[in-house]
């Protein structure tokens, strides 16, 4: 069964460093998303991406964050200068056209980011 894959599974970085989290969505999906979960808190929407542009972003997704689909298969989340409060589990998700309309997303296993 096709699945969303994320790398790395765990990354430890120093505050102020740039981090790139990578995702390979399901191959025929056109809608891509990033969510995050700070330890002990709810899963939160960060951004949705379709047709090579951001469809919607939350107030969390400030200028320190960016997304891109550099090569037609990967979908990346970049954090330019990490802060302690960026420590979280980051989930990538993708969806096909029909399922995006009904809100059915396919999630990866997550990338745990620890900022020291």
């Amino acid at each position: 069964e096709p699945e969303v894959t994320q790398t790395p599974s765990h990354q430890v970085t120093q505050m102020g460093q740039e981090v790139i989290l990578r995702c390979v969505p399901i191959s025929n999906h056109l809608y891509f998303y990033w969510y995050r979960q700070i330890l002990g808190q709810k899963v939160e929407f960060l951004v949705s991406f379709y047709n090579n542009e951001i469809s919607e972003k939350s107030e969390i997704f400030d200028d320190q964050f960016s997304v891109e689909r550099p090569d037609g298969s990967n979908f990346t989340l970049k954090i330019r200068s990490t802060k302690l409060e960026d420590s979280a589990m980051y989930f990538c998700a993708s969806s096909s056209s029909g399922r995006a309309l009904t809100g059915e997303l396919f999630f990866g296993e997550g990338s745990r980011l620890t900022v020291l």
Binding site: E3, V4, Y31, Y33, Y35, Q41, K42, V43, E44, F45, S48, Y50, S55, E56, S58, F91, A93, S95, S97, A100, L101, T102, G103, E104, L105, F106, F107, G108, E109, G110
Partner: protein, 115 residues
Amino acid sequence: AQSVTQLDSHVSVSEGTPVLLRCNYSSSYSPSLFWYVQHPNKGLQLLLKYTSAATLVKGINGFEAEFKKSETSFHLTKPSAHMSDAAEYFCVVRVGSSNTGKLIFGQGTTLQVKP
């Protein structure tokens, strides 16, 4: 604004007994509601979804949920728990009617299944 509230942070049942995970929603219009499950070291997986068709929704692994508008509830049930059901369960509402995929998650309920 839309929101979901999961009424229990932790539920413990014995194997073979029924499971009830409670969720209440708030929405100014007919919502799209979901239950997602996360097993340890796994991604979030869709269990079932309600999108204004039948109010009783059947999902994978024997789970089902009933949409009750009068009670603004969408509780998840299973007649007989299995050890493999131990996981974190999230009640989720989709924001609006667009396809931006913006979902609002509840705080999660940890289901423990005792032998």
